[in-house]
Amino acid sequence: MDFVILSLVMLGLGVYGLLTNRQLLKVFISVELIATAATLNFVMLASSTGQGLGQAILILAFSTDTAVSAIILALLVIVSKKYGTSNISEILKMQDKVESEAEA
């Protein structure tokens, strides 16, 4: 059992989801998976060497993760209120439409 490979697989899944999903909430879930992969790698390496330092520094990783989540959710709420959807493709289409109307 190798936790480095496990966290690499999680990271790969998160990056794939980040690149392919069009829903903003799914993008958020992908970011959460990437953060979970990073913390998993961190904790497993720290626990395999028997140190408490890794767990202590992990608090910083969790607080950063929470801050990132809060910012993404705030952006999500703003975008959903402004455009009425959380689909990236539809938002881009609406932006293009608004720009072409402004040019005309």
């Binding site: 490979i5 899944l13 497993m44 330092l53 992990l58 608090i59 969790f62």
Partner: protein
């Protein structure tokens, strides 16, 4: 053996969280990912990390359930059982390298600090500063709510 089962569960739930169309089921699968991660931490002798994972995970999931219900677009068609089973199969296949392969490497020498020592001696200052930031945010929210209430009356 139990570590292998939990890691398979972790990857399968991550796959389901990413690729199920319905947002509520997707968030439920993400809850499974957080749960399996916390169990892995406990089994590897990191109970504090598991507690933090639970706390952060519960907060994130509560917000995601709410925002998933309120903001998420409804899927056009319902998820078929075949797709769910295919996702489970992909998850199992993706977790096989972690079970059967291994990365070898040397670990450097690190300080032999316990969790308490590391938290208070090495990271005491930034833990206190983080608490100060959280306190400032809480005070700011309280002032905004108070002003809003005052303006409404």
């Amino acid at each position: 053996m139990i570590l292998e089962i939990i890691s398979v569960g972790l990857i399968v739930s991550a796959c389901l969280a990413l690729f199920i169309d319905e947002m509520v089921y997707s968030v439920a699968a993400l809850a499974g990912t957080f749960f399996f991660t916390a169990i892995l931490y406990i089994l590897n002798g990191s109970p504090f990390a598991a507690i933090f994972q639970f706390v952060v995970g519960v907060g994130t999931l509560a917000i995601l359930f709410l925002s998933g219900e309120m903001l998420g677009d409804k899927p056009i068609k319902k998820a078929s059982p075949q797709k769910t089973f295919a996702l489970i199969g992909i998850g199992v296949v993706l977790s096989l390298p972690a079970i059967f392969l291994s990365v070898t490497g040397s670990t450097g020498t690190m300080s032999d600090a316990s969790f308490g020592d590391a938290l208070w001696n090495l990271r005491g200052m930034d833990v206190i500063l983080q608490a100060l930031v959280v306190l400032t945010v809480a005070l700011g929210i309280a002032i905004i709510l108070y002003e809003k209430r005052k303006g409404g009356q």
